[in-house]
């Protein structure tokens, strides 16, 4: 049976076989599961209403083209149901003292304004709520309500009120959700809550954010309706996205037949954005291009790149399939400028094909900017709270990148996933398990097997 939070909190703080995992994306989920499966108590802290992270937003995963949420959701549910995992959603770590073996943690839990023990996730409240808000889950391409469940597979599957947009909290009127909630779960009086925890070690798995390509004026992001980011494309092409998976321009509902993917937007540049390679874009663009072709084999998919990063298992084969079987076009060159046709909204990409040695232009219905994975701005604050270092870019820093790729400068604090640089899902999952092993090592030797 699932233990209650109180039971987990009482779980012997002095023997403290508890671990704090910060961040509920795939890395945090895997680290939590590995530890909990061995009997450790895990406090999984997530600042949004649901765990799942960016992987929950992706359409397919490469190279197998598995539906992303379909392979992630069972793990999310496992986290929720696990007797040894305490989920702290809408929560942030605000204070940490102590050292390895005995960290004292204060987390601040924002009010959900929905009683978690009563809400069944039926969604009646969200249906009746009159306020439309851009949905974070839909990369703001779709709308949600002020009381909402971020996505159908959210964990916990419980509504939460976004106070910033709720009419009752802003203007003192409405309370429609309360009227329509048959379980009586709405609670406008909930207050922020501080929760004190005692843990042996800490795993940072706070992930990344996306570079905002508005800085690169010549690509016209936000100026031109049909220039979108790769994450927006993921939602657009996804069956649970704003167009139910139809490859349509949101601006004019026109079917998008000619789609270009631009690599290194905000990366590999000394001039603007970030100097490093973002590691995963070449492959997700290839996946996107295949999805375009799957939707309509007659459509055109072009990838503009500098160096095609095919270094992972099965990646070259995936690119070969895209090129040879699907007819995806690869052009070596970084586009110089994107222009918008003032009447049709179509785009003209000016580029240099560096292999052909010529400057050329190409028309597209939709341009997808493959933006860099960058450090979260709040890393600095968390690093200060934890006493760990950040690297030159603002990612969490490992103490010894060669021999100890997951340990920070503070004993007992580990990192995994994209919080310490761009990496793909398998690498994040691997590191999550690795961080779990290190956390387990730092707790105490298991009292088994020693007698031989």
């Amino acid at each position: 049976m699932k233990k209650t939070l109180d039971e987990l909190m009482k779980a012997d703080p002095m023997e403290s076989k508890a671990v704090l995992v910060i961040g509920g994306g795939i890395a945090g989920i895997q680290a939590a599961l590995d530890l909990a499966d061995r009997g450790f108590t895990v406090h999984l802290v997530e600042k949004s209403p649901s765990i799942g992270g960016v992987m929950a937003q992706l359409d397919k995963t490469l190279p197998t083209m598995d539906c992303s949420i379909c392979i992630l959701a069972p793990k999310m549910i496992e986290c929720f149901r696990h007797p040894n995992i305490a989920l702290h959603t809408l929560s942030e770590v605000v204070k940490v003292t102590g050292s390895v073996g005995d960290f004292h943690i204060d987390i601040l839990e924002r009010p959900r304004h929905v009683d978690m023990s009563k809400c069944t996730g039926c969604g009646a409240c969200t249906e009746k709520c009159p306020v439309q808000v851009p949905s974070e889950f839909q990369a703001e391409l779709g709308m949600r309500k002020a009381i909402y469940i971020p996505f159908p597979q959210a964990v916990p599957l419980i509504a939460s009120i976004d106070r910033e947009h709720c009419l009752y909290f802003q203007k003192g009127v409405c309370r429609v959700c309360e009227r329509f909630c048959l379980s009586g779960a709405i609670d406008y009086e909930q207050q922020p809550r501080e929760v004190a925890l005692n843990v042996s070690s800490i795993i940072i798995a706070t992930g990344f954010t996306q570079y905002n390509p508005q800085e690169i004026g010549e690509y016209g992001y936000k100026r031109f309706n049909n220039v979108i980011t790769a994450l927006e494309f993921e939602r657009l092409v996804c069956a649970s996205g704003p167009t139910s998976g139809k490859l349509q321009r949101l601006s004019d509902k026109k079917n998008a037949h000619r789609i270009a993917f631009v690599q290194c937007v905000g990366s590999r540049s000394q001039r603007i954005g970030f100097p490093y390679c973002s590691s995963v874009c070449c492959m997700y663009a290839t996946k996107g291009a295949i999805l375009v072709k799957e939707h309509d084999p007659e459509s055109e998919a072009t990838v503009f790149y500098i160096d095609l990063k095919v270094f992972g298992k099965g990646f070259q084969d995936f690119v070969d399939r895209a090129r040879d079987n699907w007819g995806v076009k690869y052009v070596r060159g970084r586009p110089g400028e994107i222009r918008e046709h003032p009447l049709t909204g179509d785009l003209v990409i000016w580029y240099e094909d560096t292999y052909e040695g010529k400057v050329d232009k190409m028309e597209a219905d939709l341009v997808v900017l493959c933006t860099t994975m960058i450090p979260r701005p709040e890393n600095k604050k968390l690093a200060d709270i934890l006493g760990v270092e950040l690297d030159e870019f603002g990612f969490f820093k490992v103490q010894d990148p060669l021999s100890n790729p997951i340990e920070t400068n503070v004993p007992g604090i580990y990192v995994c996933g994209c919080c310490h640089g761009p990496r793909d899902i398998p690498e994040s999952v691997t590191e999550a398990s690795a961080a779990a092993a290190k956390a387990a090592e730092s707790i105490q030797p298991t009292e088994v097997g020693l007698e031989g």
Binding site: D34, S183, Y276, F311, K313, T354, P422, R423, V429, T430
Partner: protein, 568 residues
């Protein structure tokens, strides 16, 4: 047993799910209909069956109406079956006597504009679920003891890291290495990227720690001869070079056998000219203070990789070339170093900065295309390399004193044999194949066996180390618990129908089904219920229908089909 004599008593619980189901499907009419289905002795509607109130009602009904089969018509088993099963167990009935009808996804959601039809379909689904429920049998999940010890095959950086992590956590470890020394490929490398640290600086403390750890037993010049058993209970024979055999029992196995480096025979005049070497040979020269008197060095990338024969990218060669190019520049500033590459794989925050430093130091990068590879001619005073640069639209000629070929990491010769011994798969590239490319990167499909390091595919040292810790974490789970629960839904063979053709054995991914010779030379098909994951592939492959799956047997499925076709 009394269960066989008394008729099953089925209870049906239909969930409104607030308005989610109730807003479309006429739930009360589904309840009334359910009461008329033969075998159903009780039916009720719940606002939310999954709420604590709903679950309590379910438990009360099981007791009050002496139910021994439960059908919940609600949402998806993916999210809610575990909850309802647990509730049945709490009420004292075996959790496999529970069945679910998904009238939300399959009725109210997809037919939201056709409430009558959605209601009819909900009735159909309930009727099917009841038909199956009547034939359900209790199932047990056997519990297996797990030996808290591990076998790690391969004494390179990955194997040693995994061994130490497990030993630190208190587990007994057997570390098997085919060479006479621990260290693996790192013994052959000079400086290591990204920090240009000496490989021995990394290796030496690791080897010392392994050697001095009382929980680790090292078996050098040894190989795994055979392995039998399953998670928790593997019996392994380790054979030394002298032919001595030692038998050990371990609970888990980690494969960390590493890789080899391609010998590029026949490529770019390799083998016919001493001035043409591989990166690995260059490492050796650098290690001993060389190279002497070398003014111009050319490196060619993707030699023997990213081609038809070996389509994969070897991941580390670009970064190794960049590192060695920088070392060559550092030891002699006026030396010219060229890297001829196709796509430079300087990925992430670790390698991108090194590419820039190399360029700043004057390492010259020249792009070439696969269709126009560099041409190499051995002349007396130089190795002449001609390369067409598409970026400059020009063919260039470089007279090199040393030509270094970046060849890919390839699977070891022993990988194939070990794959058969342990019955774990290799991918099309010849490296060990993990259970799931995204979410199970260090597990094999077979429980209790894990993989790490370059045995799984080319990767650098930090990545190998991270994987080694990950494999240690995964292996530690069953070893800490000292037990695992096996799947209850497994295959079973009807010996009378079985013709021992062995097709089931061929298709089973988990080595759970085998055709064996028993005493008196008779053949029999045996299912190892611990290894079987209940996927059902054997069952559909069996030409005589001899294999059925527990909890999804033919009788149950036919009953469901009959129920839906019969109508009401």
């Amino acid at each position: 047993m009394s269960e066989e004599t008394t008729a099953p008593r089925v209870g049906v619980f239909v969930c409104h799910c607030g308005v989610n189901i109730g807003g479309v499907v006429d739930v009360p009419s589904v309840v009334e209909y359910s009461k008329t289905i033969p075998g159903v002795v009780y039916a009720e509607a719940n606002l939310y069956t999954c709420s604590s109130d709903g679950l309590n009602k379910l438990k009360e009904a099981i007791k009050g109406h002496k139910l021994d089969r439960v059908v919940v018509a609600s949402c998806t088993p993916r999210t809610h079956e575990p909850l309802f099963r647990a509730t049945c167990e709490e009420a004292g009935i075996n959790k496999y006597l529970f069945e679910m009808a998904n009238i939300r996804d399959q009725c109210s959601w997809v037919h939201m504009h056709e409430p009558e039809k959605a209601t009819e379909k909900a009735k159909d689904l309930v009727r099917m679920a009841v038909a199956k429920a009547l034939l359900l049998e209790p199932q047990e999940e056997p519990e297996i003891e797990v030996e808290p010890s591990a076998l790690i095959i391969g004494g390179g950086i990955a194997g040693m890291t995994a061994a130490l992590s497990l030993a630190e956590q208190g587990f007994q470890v057997h570390l098997v290495e085919k060479q006479s020394e621990l260290g693996g490929m790192l013994l052959r490398l000079d400086k290591l990227f990204p920090l240009d640290r000496d490989s021995l600086e990394l290796l030496k403390p690791k080897i010392d720690a392994v050697k001095s750890n009382p929980n680790i037993r090292i078996h050098t010049t040894s190989m795994v001869k055979s392995a039998k058993g399953f998670i928790g209970n593997f019996e392994v024979e380790i054979e030394s070079q002298k032919g001595e055999i030692e038998r050990i029992r371990v609970g888990t196995i980690i494969v960390a056998t590493g890789m080899a480096s391609l010998e590029p025979v026949g490529l770019y005049n390799y083998g016919s000219d001493e001035r043409i070497i591989t990166q690995l040979q260059l490492e050796k020269i650098l290690k001993t203070g060389g190279p002497e008197g070398v003014r111009t060095v050319v490196m060619i990338q993707c030699v023997g990789s990213r081609n038809e024969e070996r389509p994969y990218c070897s991941r580390i060669c670009c970064n190794e070339a960049v590192k060695n190019a920088r070392l060559l520049k550092r030891s002699d500033r006026v030396r010219d170093v060229y890297i001829l590459y196709r796509d430079l794989q300087a990925y992430g925050t670790r390698y991108s900065p090194l590419e820039r430093i190399a360029k700043r130091q004057g390492v010259k990068m020249i792009n070439y295309q696969q269709e126009k590879p560099p041409q190499v001619v051995s002349e007396k005073d130089a190795v002449v390399v001609k390369v067409f640069s598409p970026l400059l639209d020009e063919e260039m000629t470089v007279k090199a004193d040393l030509l270094v070929l970046s060849t890919p990491l390839i699977p070891t010769e022993e990988a194939g044999g070990l794959s058969q011994t342990l019955k774990v798969p290799l991918g099309s590239d010849g490296f060990f194949m993990e259970a799931h490319v995204k979410l199970r990167p260090v597990d094999f499909p077979t429980g209790g066996i894990y993989v790490c390091g370059t045995a799984q595919g080319p990767k650098d040292i930090p990545e190998s180390i991270a994987q080694a810790y990950a494999a240690a974490s995964r292996a530690a789970i069953p070893m800490t618990l000292r037990k695992v629960r096996a799947e209850a839904i497994t295959a079973s063979v009807n010996e009378e129908l079985c013709i021992r053709c062995g097709r089931c054995e061929e298709v089973c991914e988990f080595n759970a089904i085998t055709v064996e010779v028993v005493e008196s030379g008779k053949m029999t098909t045996r299912v190892n219920e611990i290894l079987c994951k209940g996927c059902g592939v054997c069952s559909v492959t069996c030409p005589t229908g001899a294999i059925t799956m527990r909890h999804f047997n033919n009788k149950q499925i036919y009953a469901m089909l009959e129920a839906v076709l019969r109508g009401h």
